[in-house]
């Protein structure tokens, strides 16, 4: 084969954002997998509920609408500083990115503390009945995500403080925010079915 003509790509950039970046697709892939897992957990909840005569079981007392709503609100509000981190990353504005990361992380820690408090107030355990199993497992799965997100943020704060920060980390920062939106938003349906559900507010 001849090598007479060439398609020169040397002028192309090495850092891009959004769906142009392979890593974006990787992150979307992970969110799809985990979104499927959350959807299946919700399906299991309704499947078990469909077969139950009394749902939730009589020993279940609502942990309090106020505290559960506050917890969700903190998660949702934490998306704002994460969005600002993402915008700072596009500008390569490292101090701003670090600042908003710290704010978001504090909110995440607050939501974890509140989550702990809510779990303490539940009147049942995972081994009490199937309802307990599905609620605890889902909450555990989601809490694991929140913990992971918090650790990731701490890692980024360390990196932005100590360096060396490479151009590619700006893409990483944006994807970290994107992933956090997913973690925060995926609690909304479970908040609704666990804590808003008319069966619990009876």
């Amino acid at each position: 084969m001849s090598r007479r003509t060439a398609l020169d790509v040397s002028h192309l950039p090495t850092t891009v954002f959004g769906s142009r970046a392979p890593l974006w697709w990787g992150a979307v892939g992970i969110m799809t997998i985990e979104g499927t897992m959350f959807a299946i957990m919700a399906a299991c909840y309704f499947y078990l509920r469909g077969g139950a005569e009394v749902w939730p079981p009589p020993d279940v007392v609502h942990p309090g609408l106020g505290i559960t709503t506050l917890n969700l609100a903190i998660l949702l509000v934490s998306m704002v500083p994460m969005h600002l981190v993402s915008k700072a990353a596009v500008r390569e504005d490292l101090p701003a990115a670090r600042r908003w990361l710290i704010v978001a992380t504090l909110l995440m820690v607050a939501s974890l503390a509140l989550r702990w408090f809510i779990l303490q107030r539940l009147t049942f355990l995972w081994n009490s009945h199937a309802y307990g199993s599905v609620v605890w497992t889902t909450a555990g799965l989601h809490t694991l995500h929140v913990i992971t997100g918090t650790i990731e943020n701490l890692l980024f704060i360390t990196l932005l403080t100590r360096g060396p920060v490479e151009d590619k980390h700006m893409t990483d920062l944006r994807l970290n925010s994107l992933y956090w939106y997913f973690v925060a938003l995926s609690w909304v349906p479970f908040y609704c079915i666990f804590f808003l559900d008319p069966g619990l507010l009876r």
């Binding site: 007479r4 060439a6 398609l7 192309l12 897992m37 995972w126 009490s128 199937a130």
Partner: protein
């Protein structure tokens, strides 16, 4: 994109090759082996590992056949028999078929789309380690008399804490979670590589059909595997910390297990089968010496099968007393999937019809596939009908059906495909004579083994019984099947010996021994660690057959770091250059960390916190920049500086 004329500079080319060689060279020694991340090395490793598990699963199959050869045989007791058939099924589905297909994809896809490595090389290495640890876990359990014994789909309540005390089912459940994480990681790697790294000019309508098949398969993995990961986790939790997901007495539901398992389990069949159809569509052109007939129809059939595959799972549950409407819906859906399968079948026949056939071993396996898969497909249509399904449920008829589909439909194309790609992977040709001998032994042995099982099923022989009485009259057909399995084994042995001897003494293959049409044949055999010195561009569906003398090649990628060209999703226009990571130990450490989590998790709920520590350390070390990629380092700048 501008296309410039360049002079062929032999000296500069040679120098460039040396630099590429240095940048991409495979590791040597033990450390090099443990830290390797390149797709060709990892892909080959997955294939070899899967073949070893195939051999182990095959030995278990032989044990099953020998045990059933005559009535009241006492070779294996009932307990060991349960372990053997469960380990056989689990091995073949989770440790052989799926990793084999994905591994073949991970080896071939980057070569077929014309790139240097997969999108996430370290993730690729991680998936291999996880798969290996999962497989070792299963067999460690098996040899310690803790092999799973509740069938490869571990139905509750049999697999629940009450009826399966001990740790056997826990080994199964944790092994599933392992291998599924690994498959998911492989699938993501394949999807992103196919989406973002195709050679310039390889728009969606020019993607090789094997690559399309791997893409659809990977999407099926993404949506199907979470179901089995969650259900196996729930089973483990039910057994370990007394949750009640499947415990009827406390509001759980055993039937939920079947729904979750088959929501994964049915797509699983297509996860194994679709790559095989991709192999068939790839093998036909070189051996029929024409382009494949009906490219669009073939691709749409793959996609349609991918969607429909998720709407059939309940046909595994017809015997559970479902509402009639539900049963009818799933019957209709199950029969409907014959449409895309049939479309593919007709396209293959049309390709053969219009071709000038070369009857070499790969084509023989394709023809063997068409014959056996037709039988398996037809018994599948029969089983989709509820009345017939209820009659033969849990009999050897079902065993015969799915072996026709899985061996005929997947292993035959795989053996043909391995024969076809062996020269590319090793640089040496296999012996055609021994290839033909092995094909005929495998083909005859297979049909001799499994055809009689249809009849035994109709006669009422249930599956998963360790023996039967002489009065049943099942002895003769069982003996025939066992003889068949011996012939089949001889065929596989002939294939393996052919491989091993050719590895040492086979004639050199050259770049393109079959006069094929896809990009992997444009580079040397075996390919250099950077795959292509200049990434190719593509001018049509059969790039090698359409190669023009002025077909441009890609230049301008740096050779002194692992650069690859990212192209856009639809038209594969050059978009940017990305830098891939080199060898690293952290994927292995992370694999060991995840392994610790799950293996300790068999015994105590503290597995998660204990395993989390090494996992976190490995992930952080993996992520932390090593500054070896020569990337631009950003300095802190305030907005004011930036403006000025």
């Amino acid at each position: 994109m501008s296309v410039a004329e360049i002079e062929p500079l032999e000296d500069a080319d040679a120098e460039d090759r040396q630099i590429l060689e240095r940048t991409w060279k495979h590791g040597t020694g033990l450390w090099g082996w443990l830290t390797e991340v390149h797709h060709a090395a990892i892909g080959k490793r997955i294939i070899v590992t899967a073949l070893i598990f195939f051999a182990l699963g095959g030995i278990e199959a032989l044990l099953i056949r020998i045990q059933l050869a005559r009535p009241e045989n006492r070779l294996l007791g009932p307990d060991l028999y349960n372990e053997v058939f469960t380990t056989h099924g689990t091995t073949m589905m989770f440790l052989f078929a799926v990793p084999m297909m994905l591994g073949l994809g991970l080896y071939l896809v980057p070569l077929m789309v014309g790139t240097r490595d997969v999108a996430f090389p370290r993730l690729n290495a991680f998936s291999y380690w996880l798969y290996l640890i999962g497989g070792l876990l299963l067999y460690t359990g098996f040899f310690l008399n803790t092999g799973p014994d509740a069938g490869w789909f571990s139905y509750v309540p049999l697999a629940g804490p009450e009826y399966s005390p001990g740790k056997r089912v826990d080994v199964w459940a944790q092994m599933i979670t392992f291998t599924e994480i690994s498959s998911l990681a492989m699938a993501i790697n394949l999807i992103v590589t196919i989406f973002k790294q195709r050679a310039p000019g390889m728009s969606l309508n020019r993607i090789p059909i094997f690559v399309w098949a791997m893409l659809v398969t990977s999407f099926m993995v993404v949506f199907a595997m979470p179901a089995v990961m969650l259900s196996s986790t729930m089973l483990a939790l039910d057994r370990l910390v007394d949750t009640h997901f499947f415990n009827q007495g406390q509001g759980g539901d055993p039937l939920m297990w079947q729904h979750l398992f088959w929501f994964f389990g049915h797509p699983e069949v297509y996860i194994i089968f679709l790559p095989a159809t991709g192999i068939v569509s790839t093998l036909l052109p070189p051996f029929a010496r024409r382009e494949v007939f009906g490219y669009l129809a073939l691709v749409l059939s793959l996609v349609a099968t991918g969607f429909m595959g998720f709407g059939l799972w309940v046909h595994h549950m017809f015997a559970t007393g479902l509402p009639q409407l539900g049963a009818s819906f799933f019957t209709a859906a199950s029969i409907m999937i014959a449409i895309p399968s049939g479309t593919q079948m007709f396209c293959w026949i049309a390709t053969l019809w219009g071709g000038r056939l070369r009857f070499q071993t790969p084509l023989l396996y394709v023809l063997g596939f068409i014959f056996t898969f037709l039988i398996g497909g037809l018994t599948g249509v029969m089983l989709a009908a509820v009345p017939l399904d209820l009659q033969v449920h849990d009999t050897f008829f079902v065993v015969a059906h799915f072996h026709y589909v899985l061996i005929g439909g997947a292993v035959f194309p795989l053996l043909g495909g391995l024969f076809y790609w062996f020269p590319k992977m090793t640089g040496r040709m296999l012996s055609e004579t021994w290839g033909k001998v092995s094909f005929w032994l495998v083909f005859l042995g297979f049909n001799l083994t499994f055809f009689p099982l249809h009849v035994l099923g109709f006669q009422g022989m249930p599956r998963r019984v360790y023996t039967y009485l002489p009065e049943t009259g099942w002895g003769d057909l069982n003996l025939l099947a066992t003889i068949g399995s011996g012939v089949l084994t001889l065929g596989v042995l002939a294939y393996v010996i052919n491989m091993l001897s050719s590895l040492v003494a086979g004639p050199p293959a050259g770049n393109d021994p079959w006069a094929s049409d896809t990009l992997e044949w444009s580079t040397t055999s075996p390919p250099p660690p950077y795959n292509f010195q200049h990434l190719p561009t593509v001018g049509g569906r059969s790039p090698l057959w359409l190669w023009r003398d002025d077909q441009p090649v890609v230049t301008g990628l740096r050779s002194d770091r692992r650069e690859m060209l990212a192209t856009n999703l639809l038209d594969a226009e050059p978009d940017h250059r990305d830098i891939l990571p080199g060898p690293t130990i952290w994927p292995l450490i992370l694999g060991l960390g995840v392994g610790t989590t799950f293996i300790v998790g068999i015994f105590t709920p503290w597995g998660l916190p204990i395993g989390a520590v090494p996992c976190a350390i490995a992930l952080i070390a993996w992520f932390w920049p090593r500054g070896d990629m020569d990337r631009e380092v950003l300095k802190e700048k305030t907005l004011k500086e930036k403006k000025s």
